[in-house]
């Protein structure tokens, strides 16, 4: 069977899988950003209980494997009455895991904003919430965007694991096609190329553009 015939027969399923991967990726990214902002800010709180909770969260999710967390959320949480369908469990697990890494980026970036900015905001009588929202976060955003570019690629790669709880993403389709055809080079090779093209020529350039745009907006480009 030539590669063209292979694509004619199985290309449709690869496309279906890629779309599921895309949706999982977008939803997992949204969850990651929310988790990262919440826990990143909590890690900087002065209240020891809030800070401690956030630290425990970050250490647990960064200290164990995404695969373990995914299986725990999908197989064990229902025993405590929290049942999610596999699709939801998939992007939630990826998002919670990557959000813990993101929280450290948020924390680091906020701490990297020069001290004078905090003092100046205080001097002109801004409330702590105003100061965070209007002075600190915009500058922190510009600082943390480059490492977020790497993290977003990790999120994309992380979504491949949802295939193991039978979400029909690209990874899952590739495995199914491989089982029925044994054309491993063609199936896994095509899937690898799809992930690569998406990461290298869509996600990374997009993140670079966002970086430039944000730097421009606060007058640093």
């Amino acid at each position: 069977m030539s590669y063209i015939e292979f694509l004619q027969d199985y290309g449709g399923r690869m496309v279906d899988g890629s779309l599921i991967t895309l949706v999982q990726f977008v939803l997992a990214t949204v969850v990651s950003v929310l988790v990262a902002l919440t826990f990143g800010l909590m890690r900087l709180a002065s209240n020891p209980a809030v800070k401690g909770f956030a630290t425990v969260y970050v250490e647990i999710f960064r200290g164990t494997s995404l695969l373990v967390q995914l299986f725990w959320i999908f197989f064990v949480l229902p025993l405590f009455g929290i049942t999610m369908d596999k699709f939801t469990a998939g992007f939630i697990a990826v998002g919670l895991n990557m959000g813990a890494y993101g929280a450290e980026l948020v924390r680091g970036a906020i701490l990297a904003v020069p001290k004078g900015q905090w003092e100046a905001a205080k001097a002109i009588n801004m409330t702590p919430a105003q100061r965070m929202r209007r002075i600190i976060l915009p500058q922190a955003l510009v600082i943390m965007l480059p490492p977020w570019g790497n993290l977003v690629i990790e999120i994309l790669k992380g979504t491949a694991l949802v295939a193991l709880i039978s979400v029909t993403d690209l990874m899952f389709q590739a495995r199914q096609i491989n089982i029925s055809t044994f054309l491993s080079v063609q199936t896994f090779g095509t899937a690898l190329i799809i992930y690569y093209v998406f990461a290298r020529f869509c996600v990374t350039p997009f993140m670079r553009a966002v970086e430039r745009r944000m730097a421009f907006k606060i007058g640093r480009a």
Binding site: E59, I60, T64, A163, A191, Y196
Partner: protein, 220 residues
């Protein structure tokens, strides 16, 4: 559903044994990654442009595709050409190559951090390329690279569960089979999580201590 301690104690020896295999997979994979990563870095520094471009893109390719897919690729592609690799061999190759790409970026960062004057000085006193790397560049590039190398050591350890999908009998694989036999997943998966934490947190702590120690030793 209540937690059964008696079952946990019953499973523990089996899980400790599997933890050993997980550590073996992580250690073996890391060894491949450390050496191959250096090759990938040096290949990107050769004056021959086609090589640098191809290797650069290869590193990007490996870094931007999922490890899980690479594991499947290595495991299933061999038999199509009549080469049968055991789950252990293909697992170690996949995870080793994947992390080699990451480590090569760490080395690259370390080498690029060495001031240009050091290279020029080496040329001025007529050192060969090998001498320059061995006696001047690597000793200066290594200390800042240790933090990154340590992070990826913990990273490779946390990624070994992905080898369970091709039948490497490590921790996750053991938990899956125990769970499938008994239809109880609470204890096995929780134990895996706790064992991972018990290893990765102290390791990360000691790596940070080690990095400080090396920096002090090197007078940085």
């Amino acid at each position: 559903m209540e937690w059964r301690w008696s079952w946990v104690w019953e499973l523990l020896p089996q899980f400790i044994d599997a933890t050993g295999k997980t550590l073996l997979a992580a250690g073996g994979g890391y060894l491949i990654a450390v050496v191959l990563g250096l090759v990938l870095t040096l290949a990107q520094r050769t004056p021959w442009r086609p090589v640098t471009v191809v290797v650069r893109e290869l590193v990007e390719f490996i870094r931007s595709t999922p490890l899980l897919l690479q594991v499947f690729f290595v495991f299933y592609v061999g038999p199509q050409f009549g080469i049968n690799l055991s789950p252990w061999t293909s697992g170690l190759i996949a995870i080793g190559v994947h992390y080699a790409a990451y480590l090569s970026e760490v080395y690259r960062g370390g080498i690029e951090n060495v001031p240009k004057g050091q290279w020029e000085a080496a040329t001025a006193i007529n050192m060969s390329t090998v001498q320059t790397y061995r006696r001047l560049i690597i000793p200066q590039a290594l200390p800042p690279a240790i933090a990154g190398m340590g992070n990826y050591l913990v990273g490779i350890f946390k990624d070994t569960p992905m080898l369970s999908v091709i039948g490497v009998a490590e921790l996750m694989h053991t938990a899956n089979s125990v769970g499938a036999l008994s239809y109880r997943y609470l204890e096995p998966y929780t134990m895996v999580g706790v064992l991972f934490l018990a290893i990765s947190l102290p390791t990360a702590f000691f790596i940070a201590r080690f990095e400080k120690w090396v920096r002090r030793k090197m007078g940085m």
